[in-house]
């Protein structure tokens, strides 16, 4: 059904008014909701809250629009215009469905409608508006009073945002790294301003700023400066990386950079080559008569490759003071050529060298890498090939130069066990007397051994026992025994020379009490072993022998020789002689104690100031650090941290991390003493009462 145009106009006007009312009432509420949510939950919460509020407003507005319908219009017409005779509803009904009387009335009303100039729009609801604004104001007050802390963060964020807008941004950063040619590393570009590159690399910065500055430069930590030149949109600068350093980008004619912290360049040092000697295995080898050649093998590796290797061969001829040296250098070719790790092999032709008996050949390998401008060179240890000189009679007193002076006596107990076991194995073949004789001989060996150990404990030494032992030798172990004796003799001399052997067991101070106790147990076992051996019963002696060996092993493992500690025991002063000496010219000495002056005070002051909110003395700390950079591990990191904390005083995290970096540099002061607290009133009364009681008991 089509409406009368006038009615339609009235309806649209009313609906618009309804929408306006909803919008005016909702606007402050939506805004306040947004602000409150931003305060409480941050920007995300604000977006969500405002969206919800807008959806709610939309629903209300839609209902308001739909609410202005025919029924509403009819009622409104009836209410505002008396001429409508409460029959405005007829205007909205189909004429066909109406009775004749209704039709008549409808026509009348329709005619009157044309003459009515009614304003049907709903009135402005002042009270509703007031309530809406009041609620919004209340929400804003709550938002304003919301916790201080969160506001601080907000403000900081806003301030940050403000700074961001007032600073120059780096829109493109590129650092081209061209490592030295000898490293054979391809040039590459890095997007970060912090870079790690081989020492001697050539760095090329290409930066783009927004807005464009008038000039730009790189300021290095050592005070040097690289001016950047304009190249189209980019600013370009170059520098060789000699040592690790820090730098900062500085711009002129533009606001400072948003991120103007120090950047770090790490120079990776080229290490010297490492040499491993594969052959010969020992530094001193002895030439035997048949040997015609001496084969040498080395392995070397370097971080960027090996340039060359030279073998230095020295022939030392002659003996005594008449030694001649012949030296020659030989370049070696490594395999695989050009690799970072190479093997070098060479076989020395001894005949060609002209080595004779009594001569030494000394070789040494020097390997250089291809570092520029100065190569790193490593030299191996020297290796000696010796053709031993013929033994001459007058040197018989000296042990061989390479003879191992192993304390033979530690082996002898094992030998006794071996002998005993051999004897037992042979027992069926031997007749009784012979068996007893051999058993007795082993028993004699056991006795010698016991006496030798006894010496260490300060027991009586039976020097004749050695002779007896020599007489009692069995043939089969003679060489071992002889070697043992020679070794033992030298050890015994050592004890006599440096030790403190007395005939009193307790005064033998060479061994600590525990070792001494172990040794004593070993001697006891040896006694038992000897007993059974002498009685011709090696089978019974064996367990004792084994136990003795076990104890000796333990002694051997306690490697320390213990010299008894002598405390500071001042001798009792002889009062008769005391202070009777000549004291002329002997005077008091005063003030010999010099106080040490603490060196790292600047650092400890900085450390202390960082904990509080005081302004630290940055310059003093930096000056100290500059002076002690070499002694400080990773001084650059400390410099960078100082710079960060200094530039951003509000950054608590920067201060804390700098403090942690400074910790290892803090000196440990001498342990300080405290004073005990003065007793309070009750304590004083107690002490006074104690005095009275004491005085009472004394009386």
């Amino acid at each position: 059904m089509s409406l009368d145009p006038q009615l339609h106009r009235l309806r649209v006007a009313s609906a618009r008014r309804g929408l306006a009312i909803v919008s005016i009432a909702a606007a402050p509420m939506v805004i306040a909701t947004g602000v409150l949510a931003a305060r409480i939950g941050g920007p995300h919460a604000a977006i969500v809250a405002v969206s919800l509020a807008l959806v709610g407003t939309g629903v209300v507005a839609w209902r308001a629009w739909r609410g202005i319908d025919a029924v509403w219009l009819a009622r409104r017409l009836d209410a505002t215009a008396l001429q409508m005779d409460d029959s405005a509803a007829l205007l909205f009904q189909d004429t066909a469905a109406l009775s004749s009387l209704q039709n008549l009335q409808r026509t009348r009303v329709q005619a009157r409608l044309a003459g009515i100039d009614a304003d049907l729009r709903p009135a402005w609801p002042r009270l509703h508006f007031f309530v809406a604004f009041a609620i919004a104001a209340a929400m804003l007050v709550v938002a304003a009073l919301w916790r201080q802390g969160t506001r601080g963060i907000d403000e900081a964020a806003q301030a940050n945002a403000k700074n961001m807008s007032a600073s120059t941004a780096l829109t493109r950063t590129q650092v081209g790294v061209a490592a030295p040619a000898y490293t054979q590393m391809a040039p590459h570009t890095e997007a970060a301003l912090d870079a790690k590159a081989p020492e001697g690399s050539h760095l090329r910065w290409s930066l783009r700023f927004d807005p464009q500055p008038a000039a730009a430069a790189l300021l290095f930590h050592d005070g040097s400066r690289v001016a950047l030149s304009r190249d189209g949109e980019d600013w370009v600068g170059e520098r060789a990386l000699v040592a690790s350093t820090l730098y900062r980008i500085a711009v002129e004619g533009a606001p400072p950079l948003a991120d103007d912290r120090l950047h770090r360049l790490d120079a990776i040092a080229d290490h010297a080559p490492e040499i491993r000697v594969l052959e010969p295995a020992k530094t001193l080898s002895l030439l035997d008569a048949q040997q015609k050649t001496w084969s040498l093998a080395f392995e070397a590796n370097d971080d960027y490759g090996i340039a060359n290797a030279e073998l230095q061969i020295t022939l030392a001829q002659g003996n005594g003071e008449n030694v001649k040296f012949k030296e020659q250098m030989l370049a070696l070719q490594g395999e695989p050529a050009g690799a970072k790790q190479q093997r070098f092999r060479h076989t020395l032709d001894l005949a060609a060298l002209g080595i004779a008996q009594g001569d030494d050949v000394i070789v040494r390998l020097a390997v250089s890498d291809n570092r520029e401008p100065v190569a790193n060179t490593t030299r191996s240890a020297s290796f000696i090939l010796r053709w031993p000189a013929e033994a001459s009679n007058d040197s018989s007193g000296l042990d061989g130069l390479v003879q191992k002076t192993l304390p033979a006596y530690f082996r002898s107990q094992r030998q006794i066990i071996i002998d005993s076991e051999a004897l037992l194995a042979e027992k069926p073949k031997l007749d009784g007397d012979k068996f007893l004789a051999r058993s007795d001989a082993i028993g004699a060996d056991q006795k010698i051994l016991r006496l030798r150990y006894g010496q260490f404990l300060g027991e009586e030494s039976e020097t004749h026992a050695q002779k007896e032992a020599g007489a009692a030798h069995d043939d089969h172990d003679a060489p071992a025994r002889a070697a043992g004796q020679a070794g033992f003799g030298s050890e015994g001399d050592l004890v006599a020379e440096y030790g403190h052997v007395h005939d009193i067991a307790e005064a033998a101070t060479l061994l600590d009490p525990k070792t001494k106790a172990t040794l004593k147990s070993a001697l006891a076992e040896m006694w038992q072993a000897e007993l059974h051996l002498r009685q011709g019963d090696p089978a019974q002696a064996l367990p004792y022998e084994r136990r003795a060996l076990d104890f000796i092993k333990r002694v051997q493992q306690s490697t320390r020789i213990y010299l008894a500690r002598v405390g500071l025991e001042l001798p009792v002063p002889d009062e008769a002689r005391r202070l009777s000496g000549e004291r002329k010219g002997v005077d008091d000495r005063r003030g010999t104690l010099v106080t040490v002056d603490a060196d790292a005070t600047a650092i400890s002051q900085l450390w202390a100031a960082l904990a509080t909110n005081n302004a630290p003395d940055w310059d003093a700390a930096e000056a100290w650090l500059r002076a002690h950079a070499a002694a400080t591990p990773d001084a650059l990191a400390v410099f960078a941290a100082i710079d960060r904390a200094r530039r951003d005083p509000a950054c608590a995290q920067c201060r804390a991390s700098l403090r942690d970096l400074l910790w290892p540099m803090l000196q440990t002061p001498a342990a300080a003493a405290a004073t005990r607290a003065t007793p309070n009133a009750a304590g004083r009364i107690y002490l006074d009462a104690l005095r009275t009681v004491e005085a009472g008991t004394r009386r």
Binding site: R589, W607, Q667, T668, A670, A673, A677
Partner: protein, 576 residues
């Protein structure tokens, strides 16, 4: 006339009326009358349910604390009065109380508390004192549950942190300094205990980290160990010795390095001495000094009046440390006996170890003790060797203190590289013996946490707390000089009193929860004791539940309705 009677009378009247009316009906008469009486009875029971008697512990209150395990909640006695403190996570319907004080006011008869869970929080411990009868502790979480570290140490001293790791076998702990380096490490013992030693640096605050690892080296727990270091006080030492020795060399060196005011006189011969400062032995000098260190040779050489002056000064507050360096002359021994130390015949020095005492680990260092039989009477041991034998004693002499020192060669510590241990040993000794002129530090209850009460005692009227943002919170101090504070922020705080400052660290609420659980468990255990009253078993009448009566009433009314409806229907049918 009470409500029950009125209701009963009304119901009785209603029943009578109903019965009279039902008597005129033709069908189901008896059934209807019975149902009417039943309905009346049931509605009475609905309003006034009958009571039963049950036994219960009249004065017992079961307090469920946070951390109570589910198994513990399931086994709570049904007949007991149960309350739950805030933070208890239970499905069961338990009466919730804001704190224990409220619970005790509500249940005024409660005298004995049965605590269930991980223990009473700090705020409830004072109220619970003398009431806790039993404590069913919840199992502790895995990780660090106990940590004992000093609130503050003096600069350069060795400090010790010990504690316990729960439920980790064959684990180890590491102490990391603020830069992340490991300063001490130790394997856990069978109970999970450990004790680590570290060296303090200069004045200031630092955060160490204690990490616990399990057998495979995985981190089990990591806890911040806050350390506040304070400067020492410059003690005035007067050192008198009859002969130079190694101990004096290192003692003087340490005193000079530690900033102590040392005057010393070490006799070299008659009238020849090695001296530092201007040592004087008159009354005025002793009044100035804090401690006198004297050996037996000096004592023998001191004139009688000078000795008297010295002893009088000790009575007046001076500290006196008597060093034994050799055999005691009889005169000296008798003088020292008057001071409280009966020292008899010297023997050869014996070797003692101090590894455990000084926390040196397994250093193997051996020290010599001058072997004397000492009858120290009322003196307290000042230093003990690892085997428990005393190496030094000290006793009060009026305001002052006298100590006897038998350790011959503590300088070995310095020689072995443990200079801090040497300084800590002597610093501690001198602090104990020297003149009392320090101020009492305020005490602080337990460890501080965000939003939990921390109590300070022994503070002045203008004391306040500042946090890391420099926000100053004044304290409300009661008549005993104590004040409580609820920190709002985690991190370092400082208690300010006058111009003095004591830093303390506040942990975040969710930091080191294992430690918090362990602490409240130990504190609650400490509250356990003989309760003020013995258990009283009483009988109380408990009204039965109403809902069965209500359901029965509903059933009776339904039956009545149905009977009356059908009889009415038949009545209508007859009428029709």
């Amino acid at each position: 006339m009470n409500a029950a009677l009125v209701v009963a009378l009304l119901l009785a009247g209603a029943v009578v009326l109903g019965v009279l009316r039902t008597l005129q009906a033709t069908r189901y008469r008896l059934a209807r009358i019975g149902l009417q009486i039943a309905a009346a009875l049931l509605s009475y029971c609905c309003l006034f349910p009958p009571a039963t008697n049950e036994d219960f512990s009249a004065d017992e209150l079961v307090v469920v604390t946070p951390g109570a395990a589910r198994a513990q909640l399931a086994t709570l006695p049904a007949a007991a009065t149960i309350v739950a403190l805030p933070g208890v996570d239970a499905d069961k319907v338990i009466e919730r109380v804001p704190d224990l004080g409220t619970a005790l006011r509500v249940h005024a008869g409660a005298r004995r508390l049965r605590v269930v869970g991980s223990g009473l929080p700090m705020r409830d411990r004072d109220v619970a004192r003398g009431h806790v009868a039993t404590f069913a502790a919840a199992p502790l979480p895995r990780g660090l549950v106990e940590l004992d570290a000093p609130a503050s140490v003096r600069a350069g001293n060795i400090w010790r942190v010990d504690g316990r790791v729960e439920a980790v076998t064959d684990g180890r702990v590491e102490l990391h300094d603020p830069s992340g380096a490991v300063v001490a490490a130790q394997a856990l013992d069978t109970q999970g205990r450990f004790a680590l030693h570290a060296n303090a640096k200069g004045e200031g605050t630092a955060l160490f980290t204690l990490k616990a690892f399990d057998r495979d080296g995985a981190v089990v727990d990591s806890v911040t160990v806050p350390l506040a270091v304070r400067n020492g006080s410059p003690l005035k030492i007067v050192l008198l010795a009859g002969a130079p020795d190694a101990e004096l060399k290192y003692l003087r060196r340490w005193a000079a390095d530690a900033g102590l005011e040392l005057t010393s006189q070490i006799a070299l011969s008659d009238g020849v001495a090695l001296s530092e400062g201007t040592p004087a032995t008159d009354e005025a000098a002793w009044r100035e000094a804090d401690i006198a260190i004297v050996d037996e040779r000096t004592w023998a050489a001191l004139a009688a009046p000078r000795k008297q002056v010295l002893i009088a000064a000790v009575h007046d507050g001076l500290g006196l440390l008597l060093r034994v360096t050799g055999p005691l002359p009889a005169a000296v021994a008798s003088d020292w006996a008057d001071l409280g130390f009966r020292v008899r015949a010297a023997d050869a020095p014996t070797s003692v170890a101090l590894d455990k005492t000084l926390g040196l680990g397994d250093s193997g260092l051996a020290f010599a003790r001058h072997e004397f039989a000492v009858e120290a009477g009322d003196a307290a041991p000042l230093l003990r060797a690892d085997d428990g034998s005393a190496l030094a004693w000290s006793r009060n002499l009026d305001r002052g203190r006298v100590a006897l020192w038998l350790l011959a060669d503590s300088y070995r510590l310095a020689l072995a590289g443990s200079v801090p241990a040497y300084g800590t040993l002597w610093g501690g000794t001198l602090a104990t013996v020297a003149r009392a002129r320090g101020e009492e530090d305020p005490s602080r209850s337990g460890s501080a946490r965000v939003d939990e009460r921390v109590v300070f005692c022994g503070i002045g009227a203008d004391a306040a707390v500042v946090d890391e943002r420099n926000t100053r919170s004044p304290l409300g101090i009661d008549e005993r000089g104590c004040a409580a504070h609820w920190p709002e922020l985690a991190g370092w705080h400082a208690l300010l009193d006058g111009n003095r400052r004591w830093p303390f660290y506040v942990r975040a609420h969710d930091e080191a929860t294992g430690l918090a659980a362990g602490e409240s468990q130990r504190a609650t255990r400490a509250l356990l004791g003989v309760p003020l009253s013995t258990s009283v078993t009483a009988t109380r009448s408990q009204p039965l539940a109403r809902w069965p009566f209500f359901l029965a009433l509903l059933a009776a009314l339904t039956a009545l309705w149905w009977l009356e409806r059908s009889s009415a229907a038949t009545g209508v049918a007859i009428d029709a």
